[in-house]
Symmetry: C2
Subunit: 211 residues, 2 copies
């Protein structure tokens, strides 16, 4: 068993358990036992539990951020080419779609999305700082692009509406698979593609609402 296998298995197990139970409620013993590695392996390969969390988040979030930046830049470039302002919906799609579509990217991806969805309102600084530090540049670009799309909105209002958008998005990210109402009377949840389109429609309409 090579080092690569061990590190990856620890990352996979950590991703799954951090997402399911939260950072503080997940023990290294649970992670190493799920990963079928020795307890000391986490500290040997990553240094600490906290550093493992950082590695878990970085592994997926760095590529995701790159993708989101690429798509936002593409929207901005297309708008610049025609001389028009970028459309809010296109920007929202560039930011939201890669994130949510990522859930179908493979086993563990859905866990990861739930993890970072929850990180946004995480009380613990360990988790929140790790997440916010990684996502901030991306968010800044997103916000500034939206200012171009909706120049008539005061920036404090736009910021509030972007926060609402993030809230709706993160809520979908961490709870879409466990509906609040579990009755037979409750409607069946939408499939992922429809859900993304509905979310886009919802937040676009909210962002563009008259003041």
């Amino acid at each position: 068993m090579s080092q690569f296998d061990t590190k990856t298995r620890i990352l996979d197990a950590g991703e799954h358990l951090f997402a399911r139970d939260g950072f503080h409620n997940t023990s290294l013993r649970a992670i190493t036992s799920l990963a079928k590695v020795n307890l000391a392996a986490v500290n040997y390969h990553f240094g600490s539990k906290e550093a493992l969390l950082q590695a878990v988040i970085e592994r997926r979030l760095l590529p995701l951020n790159q993708l989101r930046k690429k798509q936002i830049d593409a929207v901005l470039a297309a708008a610049a080419a025609t001389g028009a302002a970028p459309s809010a919906k296109a920007l929202l799609r560039a930011f939201i779609e890669p994130t949510l579509a990522f859930r179908s990217a493979g086993p563990g991806a859905q866990d990861f999305i739930a993890l970072i969805g929850r990180s946004m309102s995480e009380p613990d600084e360990t988790v929140r700082n790790c997440f916010i530090g990684l996502v901030l540049p991306n968010f800044r670009l997103f916000f500034e692009s939206l200012q171009l799309a909706l120049p008539q909105l005061p920036s404090a209002v736009l910021m509030a509406r972007v926060q609402f958008t993030l809230g709706a998005m993160s809520h979908v990210m961490c709870t879409s698979h466990k509906p609040i109402i579990n009755d037979p009377s409750a409607p069946k949840p939408l499939d992922d593609t429809t859900l993304i389109e509905q979310l886009l429609q919802f937040v676009t309409s909210g962002l563009e609402a008259p003041q």
Copy 2:
């Protein structure tokens, strides 16, 4: 020092620390030391740490639920009197406004709102079950009323949009006081009243969006 004082001081301290640090990251020693009571007092008066959490949530959520029900019922009654369908915005206001306005209700109220805002996506079942059990009847009434207001929406779509609404709302509840961007360049956050109106405008527009 009477029993009442002790129990109340424990509830206040628990509310504050659970909201600030999360349930699992808050120790009974931190709570009892903040409340200036003996460590054993929590188990004596409440039975366990988990039962304390339940008491903390119930103390505020039961009256809040009553208020929300009263306001929703009032909107429904007013609509029934005129024979028209209730308006989505009035229902949203009846559900959202008491919750967010509650933050100004006194010291500890803001902590509490953050606590239940986060409970919605809490990974730990201890917290989530306690919260969901209390809020479910209220939520059901809210959802069924919205079906009257927006009868043209398929109920699965409406449910998704209501989830988006809850996400935006809970995100405001637990993060409005700590903005993501902390630059001098970042816009000043809105005051509470404006924030509530903006949230209402946002989610109304999203809920009523064309399909």
